[in-house]
């Protein structure tokens, strides 16, 4: 296995990635990277191709061309469950929790194939105290906000090296959306590498270190969060200003 040097190589390197459905590409030759410890936001409006990109990264979709490198290893097209075991955790917009299982059971499964580490479970509960209170509740009976928390918590149980989230604020009231990004902020401060796709640009840029703007399947802009926030095109298109 090639060794990976976090100092010189990004943890996640996406090169010329094209992804499509039924022969028609929706994402065209996008390239971006996420370095160890940083938080990167993939921003764009509905239909820009954010979800498609992320699904291709985590193996739920087969890219039509391009390459994905994780920690120095080529993982293009690798099966989802294998990527999960390698340390790539993905939280989809639909969450995909186990509705008939309790919060606790969902978390325990998050650590699969390892046994759930009680210390890790503790730290997850500290991040999301609401989950601790509801640990015996069936996931299917929880509200949207709670499910979102559980989905992130479950992903964290495997002590991932990279946490990818697709539009974590989907269906959440503004207060809960803020809370979600507060949690991500905390994780980022603790050193977690995060890739998050988001429509709600101000929230994402508040927490991210860098960002890429995706439009119609192409990357139009990239830069650090502050400069993106001040970019006039971004402000016009996504912040409703000017």
């Amino acid at each position: 296995m090639p060794t990976w040097d976090p100092g010189h190589q990004a943890m996640l390197e996406v090169t010329d990635l094209s992804v499509g459905y039924r022969g028609a590409d929706v994402v065209h030759r996008v390239s971006f990277e996420v370095r160890a410890g940083e938080t990167v936001a993939l921003i764009g409006s509905n239909g820009a191709g954010k979800t498609t990109t992320l699904r291709a990264l985590c193996g739920l979709l087969m890219p039509s061309s391009g390459r994905v490198r994780f920690a120095g290893q080529d993982v293009t097209g690798t099966a989802t469950h294998r990527l999960s075991r390698r340390g790539m955790a993905y939280v989809p917009a639909e969450r995909h929790l186990f509705p008939g299982m309790t919060v606790e059971e969902n978390l325990v499964l998050g650590a699969y194939p390892d046994r759930a580490d009680p210390a890790r479970q503790e730290s997850v509960f500290e991040l999301f105290p609401t989950l601790r209170a509801r640990r015996a509740q069936l996931a299917g009976t929880m509200s949207g906000g709670e499910q979102q928390m559980l989905a992130v918590a479950r992903a964290l149980m495997s002590a991932p090296r990279l946490l990818m989230l697709d539009e974590p604020t989907t269906g959440l009231a503004p207060v809960l959306a803020e809370a979600a990004y507060d949690a991500l902020d905390r994780l980022s401060a603790e050193g977690m590498t995060i890739l998050v796709s988001e429509q709600q640009v101000p929230l994402a840029l508040r927490v991210a270190d860098r960002g890429y703007v995706l439009e119609e399947g192409h990357i139009r802009l990239e830069g650090d969060a502050t400069s993106l926030e001040h970019n006039p095109d971004v402000r016009r298109a996504y912040l409703g200003i000017g």
């Binding site: 985590c58 469950h81 995909h96 509705p99």
Partner: protein
Amino acid sequence: MLAVFFDGIVGGLQLGVLAVGLSLLYGLGGVLNLAHGALAVSAAIVASLAMDAGWPAVPAAVVGVLVAAAIGLGLDQTIMRPVYRLRGESRVLLSLLLTLGAAFAIDGLLGWRYPFGGLSLRIGGGPVTILGVRMRSGSLLASAIAITAIGALTWLLRRTRTGRAVRSVIQDEVGAQLVGINPGRVRTLIFTLSAALAGLVAITQSMTAPVSVSSGFSLTILALIVTVVGGLGSAPGALLAGLLLGIVNALSSFYIGTYITAIILLAAAALTILVRPAGLLGRAD
């Protein structure tokens, strides 16, 4: 009447064990294995061949069950591969067609090679009286084995990590993949287990009535009926439906007649589909 009722429970327990694998397999991948009965019969034939060769009953039965499991594994690795590559209705359709082909291939070969093949185990020991009803030792042993199998399966599904993995794939396959579970491996495990359970039921059935080489299709139909009534994908549903239909079967056969009984059981499945497709304990989505 109590005697008939008890007979129903004995039969019902075995119906449950027969159907549970089929039900789980549907829950895992949306596929129906029509070769289920053929797998059961192959266990019976192998066991009877072993006994003809002088083996004692227990090892012969074990070998029978193992062979059924092996054939099941073989089917999973061959004809089920292309099935799982498809999605939705195409997957269901292909699974029906390919497993139907396998059922006929296996049944046909067994019927051709052993036209008078079958298994009938005589269990020693006189009848035992329970609650005033005389039960044959064969029935009791069959029930005991079925209950043990149910217990073992419940422990597997509820208390082990593998079992939790199985349940997770049934509840949300994508979610299972996301946490690192390989759904294909889980399906292979359950297919093989399902075949083994089918084989086990053929053995236990032979303790109360002979199982012949031509029983394959009717066993599949029985399993299918129980699975549908219990709820496709629900293991507890299959067990409950098995018990209920076993009792109905016994009472109806005794008081009404074979053909009407068959019609009643078939109608139960049809009505379930028309009125409450989720079955007794299945998830209504």
